[in-house]
Symmetry: C2
Subunit: 439 residues, 2 copies
Amino acid sequence: VTTPEFTLCDGLRAAREDRADSPAARLAFPRLAREFGTPLYVYDRGVIETQYDALRSAFAARFRRLRIFYAVKANTNVALIRFLHRRGAGAEVVSRGETFLSRTAGVPPGAILFSSSSKSPDEIADAVANGILLNVDSMDELEQIAEQASSAATTAAISFRVNPGVDPDTLHKINTGISESKFGVHLEGGLALEAYRRAAALPGLRIAGLHAHVGSQIVDPAGHVETLRRLLAFARELKERLGVVLDFVDVGGGLGIPYEDGQKVMSADDLAAALAPVWSEGTRALGYEPELWVEPGRFFVGPSGVLLARVNSVKRTPVRTFLNVDAGFNTLMRPSMYGAYHRVRVVGRAAPDEIVDVAGDVCETGDLLAEGRRLPRAAAGDLVVFLDAGAYGFAMTSEYNARPLPAEVLVDGDEAVLIRRRGTFEELLRSQIPPGRFS
Amino acid sequence: VTTPEFTLCDGLRAAREDRADSPAARLAFPRLAREFGTPLYVYDRGVIETQYDALRSAFAARFRRLRIFYAVKANTNVALIRFLHRRGAGAEVVSRGETFLSRTAGVPPGAILFSSSSKSPDEIADAVANGILLNVDSMDELEQIAEQASSAATTAAISFRVNPGVDPDTLHKINTGISESKFGVHLEGGLALEAYRRAAALPGLRIAGLHAHVGSQIVDPAGHVETLRRLLAFARELKERLGVVLDFVDVGGGLGIPYEDGQKVMSADDLAAALAPVWSEGTRALGYEPELWVEPGRFFVGPSGVLLARVNSVKRTPVRTFLNVDAGFNTLMRPSMYGAYHRVRVVGRAAPDEIVDVAGDVCETGDLLAEGRRLPRAAAGDLVVFLDAGAYGFAMTSEYNARPLPAEVLVDGDEAVLIRRRGTFEELLRSQIPPGRFS
């Protein structure tokens, strides 16, 4: 066994650092493409570890009673859920399917928080039966949960997701804490207080906590700070007016990551430092210290992942130049759906010298993965790397245009482990019933 | 056997005609939900037949040499592909997966047209090996096809998709014929002429036709008319300058359907009537009559389909009222992705009396399936129907938020046949590799 000059992780790092023409990158990506094919999601285990540890250290240094949850929707691969769980994270889930995947990954029911604005009767029944904490989103849902718990002769632990009326100034589509949002029971107008009052009166329920989540990809702590201030003030109201003492206050997730070169975002340390004085002051006034819960998703897994794709053809038109790749918005939805930006590297090519659009292989004009980028001159067969694709990448993939789903690989040092095999053409038929006499 | 008072199709029709509180609708939808669950895609076979026959009659009456293709990407269920193929339609496909599904549905290679802006080497090889017509999108791709055909010692039949520089005034994201689009070789600047010249010189290729497609959901014939005019003028140029005689001219698809009450859209007859004089004049000048090809997708299957969902909860906030349903943008992508409008009916409720948002169960603020609709007052457990969901409905579904894919049912008279079973939680793991030592 010889030690390789450069490991796969060296190649991934080189791409992140804009050295995709370096020997490390020229070794790593062709090797990954050869072994696993394209399009391919590749996650760097060390980066997940770094991100998780950074957040844990930042918060553990300032909050005595802390619980960290991984917001599973960012990436539902059981290998990642399991990895984060083993480091100490619970699972914040939004569906029975995510509960199922988290349980498969080894997360016990007591470390799962179920949060969603629209829970089906089946999802409520499953959570109640398995003792999973339900984060309640409306009065209607509260009644359904109480009824389910009573009919199952058990007690459901609940919190409410409240709408704090805070605008964290992120993309509109992923703003969840503003007043118009579909999420949460409004603090405004005493609605949240009324909800807790009703919960305290209903049989079959145990009030465990208080939750808010003001959005995704937030780059400044101000929104979280204001939210925590309001949550703690409301916790005091709950104690004084209803005698409710909370096990936890959950400040949500939403920590942004830098998608663009030079983009300034708050660090986990920035956020923890900004929250700490509010917490000290607020819990002192409250007279007791609940657990602080925090539930990032993107922050843990986003920077670890890249999407590796191959150039099918290069097309020069009088107006634009297109790199046509073998991935599309069915592979990476964020650019088409949110106008999101992912850095793009061309493997093994130096010196940016033309402005191109990176076009997907979905048969729609809107399927552009990157627009107007200055990139090295590429040719058919070249590999391109989309950075920061670990969160809301694979999770949002579809078989649109009848393209099988991509594979996923977890890399550590120089080893790559397939954690999801590539989809197949036959799988496109997996649930279709052979045409009968109607057709 | 007793004849039911109302058939399932009566119920579907009632929903389309805004009589979702009628006895027919009150019978049909609860029965479908009970038997197949929700969320559920339901297609009315008779509507597909009517749409197909309307287009065929309108065109066959005016064009002597006609071929109709179904743009499979609109809905890739093999039952629908097969149904349309048996009525005479070929398959217009955009991927090897769609070729596979079309072949499974019984479409022979000679009735398949492969059109995509980004074809992988594997897709090119498969099409060449199976004698599937390739609609070429760039010079780079042309060279690859010629090389593939030569190395396989065969001849590949090709057409070019040209970019005619026509703006059909549809949604920007689905405009494909404008100059900035990623699709087609530009007529502008002599690029398309150069492409045909090169194709005529390369070994292994047979020039079969000429193609343009200016967009989707087009409601006025003007764009198609101008496109056909330019295609025929260019066909004349091809004949005169290169001696190329075409088997066919393909004017694309893109016929819109009315998504809103009272929305005016061109009929198939409107389009055929508008194209006919351009065709007569153009082919007279051309000196021969190629086949006219047309390739609708949405027009055939869109109006036939509904998405049936159930209200999980109703939430009244100080700002808005939300019907939280058990479907989201993972079930019906068009509203979130394109801002598209689908009519919504509440089954068994009369008299619209409140303004609501219909919110999906995806954990994102942008997941609203309908906004600001005046609907009857609904309650948890009620069924809601999204109309015109037969095209780009199931095709764009994903397992985002770890929700299994919905089922599909084809209805004829009073019979409902499952044509795709519901996804399962276990399927979420179908391709995941059990976590190894890395996690």
